[in-house]
Amino acid sequence: MVKIKVDEDACVGCGSCVEDCPNDVYELDKEHGKTVVVNEGDCMACLSCHEICPSQALEHDDIHVAKRLYIDRKVNKAISKII
């Protein structure tokens, strides 16, 4: 079962995750201006919400993480010298 954590300090309440999620997993708590998880059971861990969140406020635990073959280790090694 997917566990979703929302970092309330980081969430800016833009509602991008609410709009982007195809399974209505999130809702915007208008009173506090933050995202809340309302339908965790329907999360399919596509991670579209991660990609769209401007403040990286979301965390998904216990999911299948797809193989990331596109990450070029040589490029990463070069970048790590700068960052």
């Binding site: 399974n23 861990a45 999911i63 797809a66 070069a78």
Partner: protein, 184 residues
């Protein structure tokens, strides 16, 4: 960055098949990245030249691959069984599972003479290639998977099917497979 190149020299006759592939894992990784860039460029060029016709070409290529993959499993009329077997065969390139919303009891939904099942593709070489090349998802290359699944299902169940993309994401994509029983 300096790359060390080591030349392999030896005698080779055309009729000799090397017993094992040479090179180490880094060589394969480099080859994979070149292939990804190559396939990505080819897909975008195909779209530029053929427009929407690119989708049909890639679909046909995928369908052929799907038929070949489908030959490796037993024929069945049971959609769930077919999906489980195909998932094992395609597992390395396209790891997928059947998916249902929490409120739904069964994976398959009967609608008239159609059976519908939602498939969640988690590991997908197409998605990896698109992200490696910086191309958007849902483009012509995604039609490869469309053709692949349809070809495999046609082979296993001897029936017509279609696959629609519901949602694409960086970690998984949701697709709907529709089987039309009247189309046998």
């Amino acid at each position: 960055m300096e790359i060390e190149r080591k030349e392999i020299r030896g005698d080779f006759k055309p009729e000799l098949i090397p017993p094992e592939t040479g090179g180490d894992i880094n060589d394969y990784e480099e080859a994979l990245h070149v292939l990804m860039k190559f396939v990505g460029s080819m897909s975008s060029a195909l779209e530029q030249v053929s427009g929407r016709g690119a989708n049909a070409i890639v679909y046909q290529a995928g369908k052929r691959m799907g038929h070949e993959a489908g030959k490796m499993t037993e024929k069945t009329d049971n959609l769930e069984k077919a999906m489980n077997e195909l998932s094992e065969i395609l597992g390395m390139e396209f790891y997928f599972e059947m998916w249902k919303p929490s409120g739904q009891e069964e994976y398959t939904v009967e609608k008239g003479d159609e059976t519908i099942v939602k498939l969640l593709f988690m590991d997908c070489v197409v998605r990896q290639t698109l992200r490696r090349t910086g191309l958007p998802q849902k483009g012509p290359l995604c039609y490869l998977l469309y053709g692949y699944m349809v070809g495999a299902v046609e082979e296993v169940m001897s029936i017509k099917g279609k696959l629609d993309i519901d949602h694409v994401g960086p970690n998984a994509c949701l697709k709907t497979l529709t089987i039309k029983w009247g189309g046998k």
